[in-house]
Amino acid sequence: MERNLHKQLDNMKKSLIDQGYLDEQFIQLEELQDEANPNFVEEVVTLYYRDSARLIQNIEQTLEKIPLDFAKLDNYMHQFKGSSCSIGAKKLKNECTQFREHCKTGNGDGCKRTFQQLKKEYAALKKKLEHYFQFARQAGPIEKACRPK
């Protein structure tokens, strides 16, 4: 039973990677999980969503100002990109790169358009990861599943 849950969990992760939501960095984070840090990935992702909410708000407020402060926007997005990279959020990382390109060329409409897309991806990933971690908690640590009865 536990083996099945773990297999399903692996399939979920593979699907998130195949769809481009996550990359190799997420797998690297999972490899850091052990008895001392059993929920490390969930902890880091929770920290990410908590921290980045403030950044999203800052970007939103800055996008409302006229004229647009592209240097400020670029700086916020640099921070957001860094954090997104650290959890392996591949699609978000790409949206951040796109946004920063628009900042470089002073394309305000491009920034606003990309930011809307980024927020959608951000929310979508959050839902998928919440589902993934819920499932991971049910499946339990891998060692338990392998222990002979």
């Binding site: 960095q25 690297q28 984070l29 490899e31 850091l32 052990d34 840090n37 490390f40 902890e43 880091v44 920290l47 990410y48 921290d51 640099h78 921070q79 990109k81 860094g82 954090s83 990279c85 650290s86 959890i87």
Partner: protein
């Protein structure tokens, strides 16, 4: 030499993680602890400089480039001016070679991209073991 062999020499290296991003601090701390490092974290370059001024010392400093209060290049220059000669490795998400070059010229031993990987840490351990 594998990281396991380095650790069985009995050496436990200390590392100072200097980064304003708490997620990076957390990830790097756990990653480095797995390799047997004793790690300490601070949020900016000034805190790193203040630690050394208070008499603390580390075998390795992982220095982020962009930080508020005092950035990586400035902190690196100040530490080197103080006579700090341990390994300082710049860690940056900035892609431009010119920015990495400028950071390196501040006094780094190496500059790597974040987040760190197991391979990068193994290389750093090998360099530390040589010293």
């Amino acid at each position: 030499m594998t990281s396991k062999n380095i650790l069985t020499l009995g050496q436990k290296f200390s590392v100072l993680i200097v980064d304003d991003d708490k997620i990076i601090r957390r990830i790097h701390k756990v990653l480095l602890n797995k390799f047997g490092f004793e790690s300490h974290t601070v949020e900016n370059g000034k805190e790193a400089v203040d630690l050394y001024l208070s008499g603390k010392h580390f075998d390795l400093i992982l220095m982020d480039m962009e930080m508020p209060v005092m950035d990586g290049p400035k902190a690196t220059r100040e530490l080197r001016a103080m006579g700090v000669n341990n390994m300082i490795v710049g860690v940056t998400s900035r892609g431009l070679d010119s920015e990495k070059q400028a950071f390196t010229e501040a006094g780094l031993d190496y500059c790597v991209e974040k987040p760190l990987t197991s391979e990068t840490i193994t290389s750093l351990l090998q360099e530390l073991a040589k010293k």
